[in-house]
Symmetry: C2
Subunit: 196 residues, 2 copies
């Protein structure tokens, strides 16, 4: 052990972040210490501010500094009538970065996974059922995994035939090479071909 | 942009740490927010404490919460008479993890690199020359790079023939396979072979 208990503790906590292990956490802390004025002090202040400000939106489950969040409280977002259901806040952010447009979201907080003991009561499904009536289209943007697709089927069943439920298109990713693509995606892309 | 300015700023600062990019910083922040009590609050507190406590040792250049650092102020460390010269604090920590024993260190803060404009005056070389007389052996533990070895030669010249200067052994890394090893290392390992 080098560097005193304060530094060691900081390394151990940083190492628990995804994508960082003990070795990279140590590197990160050393880098911080070397750039104390430019990086460590601002980071410390930013973390304090974020801790104080962060809350989960009571309507959609998004993470923001206000509740309802900026998306739920934006009236223009409601006009499209589109509600996109995602597994996780990170998926919501990814869709926003992709320019999803004037839509609203609903964060499930996970997917159905009997093996992990995650059932319908563990997800934000009741609130989705309540909200769904206010929207003309429910887009299921689950991950293309077995659990994600199971959850999408469950939601489709639960919302019933009255709701217009859609899902994201499957196909060749932009920049993807056919040779490296799995057969499932390729056959879906062929079936869903569009005219140029 | 999602999540409010406080969260966005935290992501941008985290993304400047080595090993983290914008994408992994976003994942890390989301993970933190999900584990606010177990991770975000302790991390914020640990960072505050580290900011307040961290200082650079005035003797050896190590990073610690006291100056002189715990290594320089430990009298047993002086008895061996061994001073290990390293490029960076991270190398000092690596040697400590490897169980270097009761030794002292000197952190140069870099290596000579004419291309990057780093000359002798930019490194802690004067203080090394002052300290060297108090030790019976100076171990040069520079990286096995061109710049590292140039710096080692420079230090050897500067300390003069009176000092006992050694360097780390070159050879086959533990667990390494000969087939994948470069010729330079292999020929060094052959020349420095030892009797079993």
């Amino acid at each position: 052990m080098s560097g005193g208990p304060e530094i060691e503790q900081l390394i151990q906590l940083l190492a628990r972040l995804p994508g960082l292990g003990p070795r990279s956490a140590r590197r990160a802390v050393l880098h911080m210490i070397k750039k104390k004025e430019q990086l460590m002090l601002p980071l410390s202040a930013a973390l304090d501010r974020a801790v104080a400000a962060v809350r989960t939106c009571e309507i959609c489950g998004n993470v923001d500094t206000a509740s309802p969040c900026s998306i739920c409280s934006d009236p223009r977002r409601g006009e499209s009538g589109i509600l996109i259901v995602v597994e996780d806040v990170s998926d919501l952010w990814a869709l926003e970065r992709a320019g999803a447009g004037q839509v609203r979201y609903h964060v499930l907080g996970g997917v159905l996974s009997p093996l992990d003991g995650i059932g319908p009561d563990d997800l934000n499904l009741d609130s989705l059922a309540r909200r769904a009536g206010d929207y003309s289209e429910i887009v299921l943007a689950m991950n293309a995994t077995v659990d994600g697709q199971t959850t999408a089927h469950y939601i489709t069943d639960r919302l019933g035939p009255g709701a217009k439920v859609t899902r994201l298109a499957h196909g060749v990713p932009i920049g993807g090479e056919l040779d490296y693509l799995d057969e499932g995606t390729l056959s879906q892309a062929l079936r869903a071909r569009t005219q140029i």
